[in-house]
């Protein structure tokens, strides 16, 4: 009789033992699957939240009057525009979405406005991502709500700032903030208006430290940027997203402690079940020994069963874990759940590989115990 047939018939005979083994594997797999499936949405959601909150890294000239800067948000000094190229040429660095700006408070048609020149975003080598902000073409103007209202501007209107002609592309909706008095154009246009050729007042960026396991993002960024731009200083805006990232890191750390514990518990559970199974089957092992079945075939009986438990547990665990993520993910990750939380077949593949190995490893000692049973002892027991 072939080993798979014996395994199958034994499983059918001792259904509860098999079901409990599957339950152990299923729990471990479901935990992993639900976490990893939801974690993708969580990462993406945090990243998106960071982007919606805008740039959180500001690099400004070192000799900026800080009181003035903190009061107005506009550096009173400028720095060479090629600084951005130095940052953009780095490979292993914790920021992206670099954008050079030039800002100055000016008076335009009797109104105080902030002229803001924006350069197209620059991505780092190998980290090309869609821009956070669409680039502004030269000659185009984006006007803040209060400026547009005060000057009765509308889209397509042609206006002049100093001697430079612009077409109003968009009158922005009210923000209730400084952006309402901002007039945005291409940085080269701003440099011409302000007569500051090649100069910028700030480099904005988004840090990628929301996933950093440890450390203060500001000090990490200063360490990275300081040596590259000794004539600049770095400010990092703490945001809701970074608080959220820290919370998630905490959950990750907690998970890193809980997962091994659960995996070990499930492993022990499977091991104990396998030992009980071996004890139940002492006489069966004895008779098989008497009939000439060697150690390899006896081992195969138990490891084969463990592999079956692992395969079934992986499949059920994948379904349960994915189901849990699909059920409970959307209320938690409202922005990204629809696109990010979906069955991941690569996780099924990993589960089908690792869960049987895990179950086999857990059953290895019981299998060895089975092999070492002395048939002369087990067969004489009444």
């Amino acid at each position: 009789m072939i080993i798979p047939t014996l395994i199958w018939k034994e499983i059918r005979h001792r259904k509860i033992n098999f079901a409990l083994g599957v339950l152990a594997v299923m729990m471990a797999v479901a935990l992993f699957i639900s976490f990893f499936t939801a974690a993708k949405a969580s990462n993406r959601e945090t990243a998106r939240l960071m982007l919606t909150l805008g740039f959180n890294l500001h690099i400004i000239p070192k000799d900026t009057n800080m009181n003035e800067f903190l009061l107005t948000g506009i550096p009173d000094k400028t720095m060479p525009g090629q600084y951005i190229n130095k940052l953009a040429s780095q490979k292993k660095i914790s920021y992206n979405h670099l954008m050079a700006t030039l800002q100055k408070k000016i008076t335009w048609r009797g109104n105080d406005v902030i002229l803001t020149g924006l350069a197209p975003e620059v991505s780092l080598p190998g980290r090309k991502t869609p821009p956070m902000k669409d680039p502004i073409e030269r000659g185009n103007l984006y006007v803040g709500y209060r400026v547009a209202t005060a000057l009765e501007l509308h889209e397509s209107k042609v206006v002049k700032i100093k001697d430079k002609t612009f077409k109003v592309v968009e009158c922005l909706s009210e923000t209730g903030g400084v952006d309402d008095i901002r007039v945005q154009c291409h940085i080269s246009d701003a440099q011409e208006i302000l007569d500051l050729p090649g100069q910028i007042s700030e480099i904005r960026a988004v840090d990628c430290l929301c996933f950093a396991p440890t450390g203060d993002p500001a000090s990490i960024l200063r360490k990275e940027i300081g040596p590259l731009l000794p004539e600049a200083q770095v400010f990092h805006t703490r945001t809701i997203a970074s608080a959220r990232a820290k919370t998630r890191q905490m959950v990750k750390k907690l998970f890193a402690v809980i997962v091994p514990f659960i995996v070990i518990a499930c492993g022990v559970w499977i091991g104990v079940l396998a030992i009980m199974n071996v004890r139940d089957r002492q006489q069966e092992i004895g008779i098989m020994r008497a009939l000439g079945y060697n150690s390899e075939r006896i081992t195969l009986l138990f490891l084969g069963k463990a592999l079956t438990i692992g395969l079934v547990g992986a499949l059920v665990g994948f379904l349960v874990g994915t189901g849990l993520a699909l059920k409970f993910g959307p209320p938690i990750f409202e922005l990204t759940a629809k696109t990010m939380i979906k069955p991941d077949m690569s996780l099924l593949l990993y589960s089908l590989i690792f869960a049987p190995v895990f179950a086999a490893v857990s059953s290895f000692i019981p299998a060895m115990i089975a092999v070492t049973y002395d048939p002369a002892v087990t067969l004489r027991e009444e």
């Binding site: 008497a290 000439g292 002369a376 004489r380």
Partner: protein, 222 residues
Amino acid sequence: MICLENVVKTYRTRRGDVAALNDINLRIEKGKFVVICGASGSGKTTLLMTISAMLNPTSGTVSVEQNNLYAMSIQARAKFRAENIGFVFQMFHLVPYLNILENILLAGGTVAGNNKNAKALELIEQFGLSGRNHHKPAELSAGEKQRTAIARALLNNPKIILADEPTGNLDTDNATSVLGYLSKFHKAGGTVILATHGTEAERFADRIVNLHDGKVTNPEKF
């Protein structure tokens, strides 16, 4: 011929060493029906297990057909056992999740050969188990279980059958029936070594070996 020379088997227990077999010297000619008699704990089962190549003696040699069993590798011993020895136990030791046919075929899993299935069905008919092929051990009477066990022992056409108290759990009719099957095997040229503490098998025996405290008390005179 089965030959045991100076066989000693000592079990280590917490209360000290226990000699289950104490300097056993025994020769069993091919084709004989030998009954090993003795009280519980006299060493009957240990002697059978030693002859069956399953229990390594502490000292001494056991040979079957001039093959020194315990000089063989474990694998070779398992193969030798599968090809030459059939077992019948008091507790039947049928696998609970296999039906009668599958229990009998279990013995065929270790020995090459075609038509194991046909042979198993033939044995089922011979042992009056027809129509019960697909019944599990739990659905059988004690007599049917033991007949299944004998059929399993015979599947590989062994030269020797070792029977450990085969009638211990059976009523008189079934015990007589089982002894009859063993006698039939013996008459067909097989060697039977049967351990018992009763006397019902003695009438079939060519020779009776009495065991007491691991010693043969009626050694054969050469």
